[in-house]
Amino acid sequence: MTKTPLTNTGFYSESPRSGVLGWLLSTDHKRIGMMYLGCITTMFIVAAALGLAMRLQLFTPGQHIMTAQTYNATFTVHGIIMIFLFIIPSIPAAFGNLLLPIQIGARDVFFPKINLLSWYLYIIGAILAVLAIFTGTGAPDTGWTFYVPFSTQTSTNVSLAALAAFMLGFSSILTGINFVTTIHRLRAEGMGWGRLPLFVWTLYATAWIQVLATPMLGITLVLVMLERFFGAGLFDVASGGDPILFQHLFWIYSHPAVYIMILPAMGVISEIIPTFSRKPLFGYWAMAISSLAIAFAGSLVWAHHMYASGMSDFAILVFSLLTFIVAIPSAIKIFNWISTLYKGSIELAPPMLYALAFILQFAIGGLGGLALGAAAADIHLHDTTFVVGHFHYTMFGGTGFAFFAALHYWLPKFTGRMYNHKIAFIAWGLLFVGFNTTYMAMQAVGIQGMPRRYYDYLPEFQTLNMVSTIGSWVLAAGLIVMFVNLLNGMRNGRPIRMNPWGGATLEWQVPSPPPMLNFGKEDPVVTRGPYDYKGVKADEF
């Protein structure tokens, strides 16, 4: 194999339409997946730049590069983009689209046209979000949570931002419907429930949350808009409403949403760990069932975000108790990954390194979550940078790193080329060190009492803030090295054959990049489990 240009191979070459339209009107799940991947990565880079700007402002006390109002707008936009445009669609919409059909032996998702529609809704949401920043009366400054009464009173562009989030929610719902139906109806012959790769199981659990929780976000945001346009008053005490109910409705969606963020990431890790340990995944059914258990238990705990809101003490008691229960299925996963590693013949390839970092960082974030789940501790820690550190540990150290792991694991499959491994190691080292410095320092200063969402702080918090900001520079360097290396690999990397890592799931049994309908003329028949490595060897590359 010499260097054939990418556009001449696999699903890049075969298309009913040529050129850009061949992409924009394509209903092929791989093309849609690649389009998602491009947009999502762009969004991540934009929002990361905003995060770095905030860290710069927080380097020392006082006003440097932004005013208080700009800071408010910056964390709001950073949050909205990271949550709704990056992390929620990141793994399900991008990698889920690329891989789900192939991994279950199907030729596409069940509703290919709706799949394209949901991509367009994503793009519309992205455009609206960008418009909300640059037009009208100024970028929204409510935080990504849109809490009333502030969100119904501020003069900034909240309505447009809420509309954007509404569209993105709709897009997410359609993806969820598509995936549930696909998994039920399109599994290949022989692909029983016990042979589904864990990634598919987690996508399945995620898709149910997308279907059953996201509409609640939709109605909540609609009500905020109605409140702004018509004075609906549903959350206004003077009109018999109750602002705390906004928080209930919002978190009824947004807590399950954190499982939309983390479950697919757990799926990615469950694929990577066995492949690079050359051992079947430990406790397959425990892993599969715990994914569903997490999805279910995730719908029981939303009000742990509201201990300080003024809700009843009884509710605090109930939700605190329930919150501890969710920890159980997550812990099952961590133990099973570690048991899979135990006595495996471990190969520290780049995807594996990101996966290992995931386990550590997710565990730290999860344990911090337990501290916050205990109401007594949370009253002290609520709205401090400890919380910011905690959720970055789970979302960035967890899902973000799993996203990077997935990029390193599967991007070669879909571009047919391998990136440079040495540079990938360097990038990983920078990211790991930078990430932990940035957010461990934020957690520490939070315990000392530094509030979140403030552009300025007391002098005694300076040292740790400086550490955090310097950490963010290392992190930024890591991101740059990683993305440049991946891009370079896509264009100039060494060509690979079917199975560079020695994976046993179906995507490693089709060419890289896969052809238009994934499999040849014959529909695939599955005869072995997803982690059955007997006789499977990695190709040289």
């Binding site: 419907i177 139906t181 039920h184 109806r185 018509f230 003077a238 018999g240 409705l249």
Partner: protein
């Protein structure tokens, strides 16, 4: 080259999933209602008495009947009685408009009394009554929007039946539009007693 397959059961399953999302969407408003009702039981009775039961009851009958006609339309197409199927679709659409026109008169009446979100009259009636009418307008409004969407869907399918694109052999589009229409009915089945019949 694109992916061709036929699986009506899967198509219907997708539609059911979509209906679940609609139920959750409305449930947000019903949660707010349930809480306000426990907070202001007395005021809710006062407010509910201001609504005209007969408007509500008439609309209930209209929607139930439209649910019947669209259900019959499916049997008709299964038995290849195309003319009958189209007439039943048209009847459903007609009933949808009767519903909306009824709603229009009802709302005009209330608005003429000064009862609408953020109005002076409402503010003077106190928070409980205000919250009732706010919820009433937005829940019924969202429901009305669904009536409109459902009627549009059925119109499109009726045209496709007439053109022979939806046939006795392949009618899942009609089934899915009918499912959507029944959902509109289901929401109303709860909305009607909760808003009109509280005493």
């Amino acid at each position: 080259m694109s992916f061709e397959h036929r699986d009506d059961t899967g198509d219907r399953f997708g539609m059911w999933l979509f209906l679940y999302t609609e139920v959750i969407l409305f449930s947000g408003l019903f949660i707010l209602y349930a809480i306000a009702l426990t907070t202001y039981p007395q005021e809710y009775i006062t407010a509910s008495n201001k609504l005209n039961i007969w408007f509500g009851a008439a609309n209930t009958v209209v929607l139930l009947t439209s649910s019947l006609t669209i259900a019959l339309a499916i049997t008709a197409i299964q038995r290849n009685q195309i003319r009958l199927c189209i007439s039943l679709c048209v009847a459903t659409i007609g009933l949808a408009f009767v519903f909306l026109i009824n709603k229009y008169f009802e709302w005009s009446h209330e608005i003429s009394l000064g009862i609408y979100p953020a109005s002076e009259t409402l503010r003077d009636m106190g928070p409980g009554v205000t919250s009732f009418f706010n919820l009433y307008y937005f829940t019924a409004g969202l429901h009305g929007l669904h009536v409109l969407i459902g009627a549009t869907l059925i119109t499109v399918v009726a045209v496709m039946v007439a053109k022979g694109k939806v046939t006795s052999d392949r009618y899942v589009l009609l089934e899915n539009s009918a499912l959507y229409w029944h959902l509109v009915d289901l929401v109303w089945i709860f909305l009607f007693p909760l808003y009109y019949l509280i005493i």
